[in-house]
């Protein structure tokens, strides 16, 4: 009988019988046991555990948690989309609005008299429609001005008209003023390009001439700033030579400015009137002055 066969037999016996020869030999080994202290510790632990409330069964897996998380994520995404949708819509609407207003402005520029004679009541534009296009308008305005190299002074009151129109429209006077202004423009501002006129007419619907001078000085809104074209270098040099009051008046419509000069004369403020007139002449050399001002040096 080979050793392997003996081993297999011994293994079978070892597995089958609890009292095989090898098991019997093993049981002759020392049989160490836990000492008394260890026994006491284990039994005490078991008694404590039995006295204490039964341990809670392991919490069952909460299958609804992932579902709740997914639902919350979806709700959050929908909420964000809902909140952002109007803003995105506005942003998408910007070019369209800008384009529409540009088209309107071009139309107005082509027929400023008709527009101003209609003298529509001051109509505050909705903020969402006005504010975003300002940036676009500013860029377009800058391009236009860059293209027209010796751009003339901005149409007086272009900025002020917006603010003034909101205050006190005077339809009849406005109509006359607008007609005069149109004639004046045809005569004296021949060099004014259409592109430069376009930004000036942005606020044309407002009857600016009827506005008092003081509000016209205020550039209250960003749109006002945006519509105000930079002055040519020549004018800027002139501006340095005049007082602030004169410069303020120079932003009036010509008719208003003339009226202001006449008022100064009547008030005895001749030097101030003279400075105003001097600047007026430089800005509107072809303007037909009233008789009382023609002789003023």
């Amino acid at each position: 009988m080979s050793g392997d066969e003996n081993l297999e037999r011994e293994l079978e016996s070892f597995l089958r019988e609890d009292d095989s020869r090898l098991a019997a030999l093993y049981r002759k080994l020392p049989r160490p046991e836990p000492d008394a202290a260890l026994d006491a510790a284990v039994l005490a632990m078991a008694r404590r555990a039995a006295a204490a409330p039964a341990p809670r069964p392991a919490p069952r897996r909460r299958h609804w948690l992932p579902l709740l998380g997914a639902a919350a994520t979806v709700a959050l995404a929908v909420g964000i989309a809902y909140r952002l949708a109007p803003q995105l819509g506005n942003q998408r609407g910007v070019p369209a609005t800008s384009g529409a207003s540009d088209a309107a402005r071009r139309e107005e520029a082509q027929a400023p008299a008709a527009t101003t004679q209609a003298a529509p009541p001051a109509r505050p534009a909705p903020p969402a429609a006005v504010t975003p296009p300002v940036e676009t308008d500013r860029r377009q305005l800058q391009k236009v001005e860059n293209a027209a190299a010796p751009a003339p002074a901005p149409f007086p009151g272009a900025t002020d008209a917006t603010a003034a129109a909101a205050k006190a429209p005077a339809p009849a006077a406005a109509g006359r003023v607008a007609a005069n202004r149109e004639a004046e423009m045809k005569k004296s501002a021949a060099a004014v390009s259409e592109s430069a006129a376009a930004p000036a007419s942005m606020s044309a619907p407002a009857p600016a001439a009827a506005a008092p001078a003081e509000p016209a000085l205020r550039v209250g809104t960003p749109a006002g700033n945006a519509f105000e074209a930079p002055k040519p270098a020549k004018d800027r040099a002139q501006d340095h030579a005049y007082s602030a009051a004169v410069l303020r008046n120079s932003r009036l419509y010509p008719e208003s400015w003339i009226a202001e000069i006449q008022r100064l004369l009547r008030a005895g403020r001749r030097e101030e009137a003279r400075q105003n007139l001097e600047l007026f002449r430089s800005k509107y050399p072809d303007y037909r002055l009233p008789e009382d001002l023609r002789d003023l040096p």
Binding site: L7, E8, E10, L11, F14, L15, D18, L22, A23, L25, Y26, R27, K28, L29, P30, R31, P32, E33, P34, D35, L38, D39, A41, V42, L43, M45, A46, R47, A49, A50, A54, P55, P57, A58
Partner: protein
């Protein structure tokens, strides 16, 4: 165990008295030193007590107890990779209690037998030693050992075959 899960401490005491020696020897001969054995022994019972609510009648109590001990021993081996050298094995052997009822004339020969068996057990690879101990100490069959250790039955049989071969070899010296 079901009675103890309902709060019957006496049921636990009976279970403990029946299983304490078997469990302790299984652990001690698996890990090789008393300090670790004491720690693992206590931890095994602690885990059993904590899990008493989950005990099911289908599982034999001894198998369940040895399963807990097996898991703890495996964890211990993973933490302390280096195995005991022969000197340490000899030291462990000296700590084992010698039965007092042995006749003096048989002492040396039986002592030598026990010594050789003890040495070969210590020299066995852990998997083979564990299979051997589960069989001789726990009284588990091939199928139970395989289930408890997570190995196939043929694998367990092979481990036991190698263990027996080494024991025979040691006794033939």
């Amino acid at each position: 165990m079901l009675a103890y899960a309902q709060g019957d401490v006496r049921a636990f005491e009976a279970l403990y008295a029946r299983s304490r020696g078997m469990l302790y020897r299984f652990i001690l001969r698996s890990v090789g030193d008393r300090a670790s054995a004491d720690e693992l022994f206590q931890e095994t019972w602690s885990r059993l007590v904590a899990a008493r609510e989950r005990y099911r009648v289908e599982a034999k109590f001894t198998t369940w107890l040895l399963q807990i001990a097996h898991n703890l021993i495996v964890d211990t081996f993973r933490r302390t990779r280096p195995q005991a050298d022969p000197d340490e094995t000899e030291a462990v052997f000296r700590t084992l209690d010698a039965p007092e009822s042995e006749r003096p004339e048989q002492y040396l020969s039986e002592f030598e037998q026990r010594r050789r068996l003890q040495l070969v057990l210590d020299e066995l690879p852990p998997a083979q030693r564990e299979a051997f101990l589960l069989r001789v100490e726990g009284g588990l069959g091939l199928e139970a050992i395989a289930r408890l250790t997570g190995a196939g039955q043929e694998t367990v049989k092979s481990r036991l075959r190698y263990a027996l071969a080494k024991i025979r070899e040691k006794f033939a010296e």
